[in-house]
Amino acid sequence: MVDTPLRFSQVSKSFARGKDRVQALSNLDLSLPSGSITGLLGPDGAGKTTLMRLATGLLIPDSGTISVLGADTRRRARQVQAAIGYMPQRFGLYEDLTVQENLDLYADLQGLTPVAAAARQRELLKLTALGPFGARRAGALSGGMKQKLGVACALLRAPQLLLLDEPTVGVDPIARRELWEIIQGLKKQGVTVLMSTAYFDEAERCDEIILLHQGKLLKKDSPAAFHQPLNGRCFLVTQAAMSKRHLRETLQHRPGVQDARILAEGVRVLCRDTRPHAVAGENWQVAAPTFEDAFVDLLGAPKDPDTEITPDSPPTALPTDREAETTVVEVRDLCKFYGKFEAVKGNTFTVRKGQIFGLLGANGAGKTTTFRMLCGLLPASSGTLQIAGVDMRHATAQARGRIGYVAQKFALYGNLSADQNLAFFSAAYGLRGKARQTRLDWARREFQLAYYRHVNVDDLPLGIKQRLALACALLHEPPILFLDEPTSGVDPLARREFWQRINALAEGGVTVLITTHFMDEAEYCDQLVLMSLGEVLAQGSPQEIRDQAKDAAHPEPSMEEAFIHLIQEHESQTRRAS
């Protein structure tokens, strides 16, 4: 009998990046308790994926030993691979095969007999609720369904150890909840699960959390043990007279406050000590610590004062009261058909100047389609849309110069260096001479890109790519900014920093339109549209949307609960109607 299904002892691994070597993991020691769920967290580049791939025997450590279910990965990699289940970040589904054909293929690849495979597949299809979609092409599935199918393929052989690399990224709250139920069901069957995640609420539900940072094990403990040192240092602050965003800015800069973030109920503050740093008019309440607080406490080293994000050159002047009422984006009855498939179904909304406008919804909800139509990249099938008074579809170069756009997955030139990307986009936006130099210097300083100037974009961590993409979109100081899933796949700290920038931009009068599938990010927005399957489920301020979802079971629903509630309500309505 093996005491632990996975043990790392003194494991180091480095990779070549150009001329340098990057130490991905150094002297890592850890073991997983049998039959538990362990969460793997850490910022980008902490070594999470490397750890996973080492555990599968796909990578061989530079030094140290890894034993999986009692077998050394160095000598018995095939045996290890036969005994575990592994789902990489981008699971290799064959998009042109149907769900059933994918399952059959993986069953064959893993050497299951047809009888055993059929029985196991039935079980898994039931578990993942993918049964009705057996004949659908994998490429036509939604993001969440694809992830579930990926898990199902990894589970075909009922492994004792299951490794999941960010299985819930880009998945809507309902699918995320379902995936989580599947994982917990596995635990009951005695499977040991190691999963990396970017969601703190998932970390809270794990038995143990491994926190990695720069290739080193920072802490490995139960969630409760992570919370423990923070007791009494967390507060919920409310201030009736001030907007939450403004309040957060004030609190963040107050001495003694380590971190401040916006929640549904108010601003959550993590202090360096147990004493509240209240100012008259503010209401401070002690709150129970969460894993997010622990994460920030352990990893969010105090920043240098000069790297603090300040809107030092607000792209436009602060809006006057009259200006603030100006409508910048107006969309009426917007529809989009792809063949017979209706991707966007008659949406109507308006965005006012200086607002942060959020488009929320799962993958496949029609957010990106809406965005591409707004930017003039796709023609609308019907309906009208105007950005600053013009339809971007027929916009002049000058009108296009008024918007900044960050595409999904940060479309940058991969084999150009960070500097070359900045140089190209600055010229593409018609900047020249001294003005161009000033903006380039600004971008490098403001987004802390100096260190990465000569690194190829392909080699940059995702968080840095995100900063660079935002920098490129802001070089020409656009008054309107479109951001398509700018936080997807980015680690929690980078997300936090990102939202600080966006807040600062909005304070400076920039209108920001943003799509996201992180429900907690909704709280940063002034105005929201909740989308599902091309339809607008609800719109309004975050508070208004949460109010819509209030019921007896959830007197104070979170945005995620509200979203699930609204989708379920909507689905039952359409079912009744048909």
């Binding site: 990249l377 296009r400 479309a411 940058l412 084999n415 150009l416 010229a427 593409a428």
Partner: protein
Amino acid sequence: MLTRLWALVIKEFLALLRDKKSRFVLIGPPLIQLLVFGYAATFDLNHIPYAIYNQDSGFASRELLGRFQGSPAFRQVATITHNAQIAPLINNQNALLVLQIGPNFTRDLLLHHPASVQVIIDGRNSNSATLALNYVNSVILSFDTHWAATHHWGKPPAQLVVRSWFNPNLLSRWFIVPGIVALLTLVVTLLVTGLSVAREREQGTFDQLLVTPLSPLEILLGKALPGFIIGALEGAFIILAGVFWFQVPFIGSILALALGMALFLLAAIGIGLMISSLAVTQQQGLLGVFLFLVPAIILSGFATPIANMPKLVQDLTYINPMRYFLVIVRGVFLEGDGFHELWSQYWPLALIALGSMTAAAWLFRHRMQ
């Protein structure tokens, strides 16, 4: 406008040249193809392996065979003594041909009778067989003339005096190397332009480009210029290699060739950009390029003459830009052509260039909708 265009061109070059793989694609294969075509692709036969079956013991057959042995085009591999040995030699490709001289060869000749020499040749590769036979004929012809002169047969009534114009020694290298200029220029230009838009689509940067103030026309120009510059550089390099390394004469007007090359490049870029606008991924782009490239080369007259093709296929070659450029490049190299002689090639090439660029621009706009 110019600053933006310039930035685009710089970016295209950086994207091409900073990547090790694409840098290699631009330099490696053209160089290899130049060497392969320049050295290995030749219609000339050297060291033809042959065997001798000489049943004649006289001096005339020895004299005739001496002419074969002395020629660099032939290499004797065997001397055989009876009929049964012939078949295995040819079957196993040890010899391409067997010369059989009958027992009465010298006697017949001395008696002023016609004497025959039998040539048994491997006809599996008809092209080589025809060429080898030609060589044998010319050797025997020169033997005949010499014999006639020294043994008082009198002069033959008509004499054939052959003079090859433009390529006096009929070296195939002179025919092939100018052709490579056209071939490689086309390959490189298509690869550079055919993948450029597809690469951006794959990376997602194409959307990013479209939301900038750059107009579609500027983007099109920004994509066309690098292809033009790289294609022209590569073409010039091969011309220089042809002249200075392979020693092919260049007697025409450089400017006439430059004009032809410019028109040819524009036509190729238009086709490349059309392929690129249609392709969603780089893989599709590459497939598209090769789908065009292979028939374009075969139907260009690069290796086999267009005049030999069926009528319908000949008509098809009129839309192939490489057809015209091959005439231009060979004309300038070997015939010393200038603008005046090549006018009939320029205007169809210009028409094709105009057509393909317009189609690319239209597709470019259309695919964005």
